[in-house]
Symmetry: C2
DNA sequence: TTTTAATATTGCAATATTACGATAAACAAA
DNA sequence: TTTGTTTATCGTAATATTGCAATATTAAAA
């Protein structure tokens, strides 16, 4: 095996898991943090900041983009990336609502 | 390759990524949701609810426990699991603070 | 003690992820 | 058109994850 049984779970569960999974790597957390700090920046700037080769960074950017966490705008031969707040808001609200519904613990 | 370069990132980045990663699977999201709904319950109840075999569920529970998202208390020969709010609060607050710091988008 | 019940662990196959060199693609500049 | 710059894609090796059958472990019950 090795393939997740996504069809056995609800759309919402799969959606939240996909967003969380995209953020489940320190390089992608670092990218998000850098985009927050600089507000927006070129792909090349991110490559300079991270301890990873350019193709690896490009791959991480693609995953964040697929998950709807960032978006990129082509400017000439460069690409300007920035945060797409929508899905970050979704997962933030999701966790907040889970915590609100969680009262006492048995253990 | 295939191994994440954790030593090149900050402790905070690695920590947030680890929590997000643990939540990056629909089965683990479903487990968390079920624990919220029932407040606390036995491992066996979770196995009944999920479309996965007992060893697979046990493995997912272990990952959630390692990430500090749930905790389990042994009661006789059964184990009662419940949410450990601490790390869920951490990631919830983390995303909230990221969103607060994120103003306008370039693209 | 033997049996039963509830979880955890082991071992393994299938698949996914991570990382990067090489290369391609797209565009600007000369 | 040629060259340089920027980013994406391809191919591939190393490693991690997912899932489950078989089995071990632990403790209650008979």
């Amino acid at each position: 095996m090795g393939a997740t049984k996504t069809d056995h779970f609800t759309d919402k569960q799969n959606e939240m898991a996909a967003i969380a999974k995209a953020l489940g790597h320190p390089a992608r957390i670092a990218i998000v943090e850098h985009l927050i700090k600089t507000n927006a920046c070129y792909c090349g700037d991110i490559v300079e900041v991270l301890p990873l080769a350019q193709p690896t960074v490009s791959q991480h950017l693609k995953e964040l983009k697929n998950a709807g966490i960032i978006k990129g705008e082509i400017e000439g031969n460069a690409v300007c990336y920035c945060i797409d707040k929508k899905n970050l808001s979704k997962i933030s609200n999701y966790f907040a609502s889970i915590l609100n519904r969680s009262f006492k613990s048995c253990c």
